[in-house]
Amino acid sequence: MDALTHTLLAADVQDRGAAVEAYRVTKRFGALTALDEVSLKVEAGSFHCLLGENGAGKSTLVKCLVGYHPPEEGSFLVDGREQAIRSPRDAQRLRIGMVYQHFTLAPGMTVAENLLLARGDLPLRIDWRREKAALAAFLASTPFRLDLNARVADLAAGEKQKLEILKQLYLGQRLLILDEPTSVLTPAEADEVLGLLHGMTRDGRLTVMMITHKFREVSAYGDSVTVLRRGKLAGSGKVGELTTQDMAEMMVGSAVFVATAPRRRAADPERKTGEIRLAVDRLCADNDRGMPAVRELDLVVRAGEIVGIAGVAGNGQKELIEVLLGQRSARGGALRVDGETYGATRAELRRHGVFSLPEEPLRNACVPTMSVAENMGLRDFDIAPFSGGWLSLRFLRRGALTRRAKEWIEAFGVRPPDPSAAIENLSGGNVQRAVLARELSGAVRLLIVANPVFGLDFAATEAIHRRLDQARNDGAAILLVSEDLDELLELSDRILVMSEGRIAHQVLAGYVDVAEIGRHMAGGAGHGTGH
């Protein structure tokens, strides 16, 4: 046995997963109490799931634990001893690491540089040849494959998530906190990543704490679960002893229906769809770096159907949506709506009844500093009845805007119910609801939707899915791009798989073979955007 193996084994004996306890932790942001005397217990070497709706305080709790927001009151115990965690350095010293929901990678730097920077004890002068060899050896010890010299900006979302986890494994963390780690992964990738982490907890080498919304992941990988609601502890227990229904009740505070997978009935092949609403003909578009992202793509969406686009992130879906919404200019090809040339101008959107739910609605569908009422009026503030008046100078009628905003806030359950609040101060789910109100309350003829439930809790997810289904039944044509295959299977009448900027596969809802879809998704997965 050589020296290296010996050290590794010795390290393994030392490296047991950490046991962590939070005791009556309270965190306030101004008047808002984000966490109210929350206690939780995570056993060493266990896979702990943290459940809760949006704004329940899950992220705040783990950010307290990693020293990002030190709490006002309460304490943390690591391996039974009280520890003051006032800064990320303290957490690092205790070998507690976090994989954030939003990537914390430096996009302009390489994979190797990002890994090395995470280590924190860099020598003044870096011997790249030696470091690269060490990093390659580390990578070989994990099932993940990444190009050390690739720039992070060139990686697909799934690869970035792997790098985030690799970064923490590289640091030899004893407690790994994951904030919705699978929201950007394909189901196969998610199972691979969680399976690996689960295996490491079984060896006792690692304790994992995972924030999630997906009950499937809780039941498949979790040992125990803690549920938060509105900043308070709502319940906890062993996964085997709690049913999905129990957990759902703790989350929302009452028994609600949980969709435990009754997938969409096989679409009736005889089902009447209407005329072609959207026709995309040989569309080409470049990504931000000027590389082709959408390549001669053809697709058609008819009235009364939901066409789902599946695919691994970074295969041109984002660029396609941006062209359809007028955020990006096409390099070639043609777009037609109702048979007329379409350039996503305001007049065309209005004439054809085109609406959209883009991803990251705060960035893509809102003016963050404007009020909820103003944001709800962005589609029609310049036409009657919201503008007009003396000499037809089109004065804004704030009263009318506010009145309508109040109705929509009521109807869509936006919190807080204040039309004058700046929309950037709302939580993600509530921003989504406000945008949804604006986009679904008109006469929708064509709806373009991208990852509509990204980061939303299941109640909000259910509500949005119901509304999309309703809009389709009312005759709208819907194009739905999602990285969540389950969502597509549940909603779509037709599923297209996008890979390397093209439609690689097409299937009717009733004839879906998930493995087949997975193969086509994987076709361009590893190198989708690099060239």
Binding site: G108, M109, L117, P123, I126, D127
Partner: protein
């Protein structure tokens, strides 16, 4: 007859351009390297024009008082550090925009330099010595073209050093991380604000040294029209060089050559359009900016935290 004289004229024009590039490029080089450090940390310091002028004044004054031009260079650098600390400190306050502060400091720096520099317009301070790289030649033109200041090789070496340091030193990596994703840097425990203030101060030091070159070597006097916007052009040059110190050095030489175009043509007897040719560096700035910006695309190599790369 005309062909041989044309050949000769072209040769000496090229030589004059080379000489001009070597002579004029040093301030561009120092300011752009300074700005490169600052921008890599995620902030833009447009105030380097003011720093350059203040450094020129301070360097000249100290050289005059102490009789040592090298102390003048040091003083100019320290003026730059103070300006950099001021910029870095102000920008670290909440909701302060680095570009607006930069413009304010540009006006502040030049104004302060003009105010304090009034008594320095007449007297002659000791100048920095030059190095005769052309001593081997009998040709006076070659000798004058290759007569350079020590600061030029220092600057070129610095460009190489920075290129290495950004890639393979702890400080370089931390600096780039802070400039690329501040949230990530904070999560990893790197002190974002101190690193940025330090980078801005270091950038100020280099810009100040660039100013000392102006007043203590070429043109070699203190007056209010000394800089004529070179500090601002150097900031533009960093974007053209895509935040790479080696390319900064090349671009500085290119700008130096453009700046020498007018005088070089004049020395060849072409006087028509003298002022037009003097505008070459400004035209070059505009042309390069237009060429390096592509609408709808983020600039490759741009630090992610710069205010103009944020969407």
């Amino acid at each position: 007859m005309s062909e041989t004289t044309d050949g000769l004229a072209f040769g000496s024009l090229a030589l004059a351009l080379l000489g001009g590039a070597l002579r004029v490029s040093t301030p561009f080089l120092f300011v752009s390297l300074g700005e490169c450090i600052t921008e890599k940390s995620g902030r833009i310091n447009l105030g380097l024009e003011g720093t350059l002028v203040l450094g020129a004044m301070g360097g000249y004054g100290v050289s005059l008082l102490t009789g040592s031009p090298w102390l003048g260079v040091l003083a100019a650098g320290l003026c730059g550090v103070l300006m950099g600390l001021l910029h870095g400190g102000l920008c670290s306050l909440p909701k302060v925009n680095d570009i607006a502060v930069g413009i304010a400091l540009m006006l502040f720096g030049t104004g302060l330099a003009f105010f304090l520099g009034k008594p320095l317009i007449q007297p002659q301070a000791p100048m920095l010595p030059s190095v005769e790289l052309g001593a081997w030649s009998d040709d006076e033109q070659i000798r004058s073209a290759l007569r350079i200041n020590v600061l030029l090789p220092v600057g070129l070496a610095l460009a190489g050093l920075l290129h290495w340091a950004f890639r393979a030193s702890r400080w370089g990596l931390a600096l780039r991380l802070v400039g690329d994703n501040a949230a990530a840097a904070r999560a990893l425990g790197y002190p974002v604000v101190p690193i940025r203030i330090g980078a801005t101060a270091a950038g100020g030091f280099l810009a100040g040294v660039g100013g000392a070159f102006l007043s203590l070597y070429y043109p070699g006097s203190w007056n209010e029209g000394l800089s004529s916007g070179q500090g601002l052009m150097a900031v533009a040059l960093v974007i053209f060089a895509r935040w790479n110190p080696l390319r900064c050095a090349l671009a500085a030489l290119l700008f130096g050559a453009a700046g020498a175009l007018g005088p070089a043509l004049q020395s060849q007897g072409i006087t028509a359009g003298y002022y037009l040719f003097n505008a070459a560096p400004y035209v070059l700035t505009l042309a390069l900016m237009a060429a390096s910006w592509t609408p709808g695309q983020t600039l490759a190599g741009a630090p992610g935290e710069l205010s103009f790369t944020q969407r």
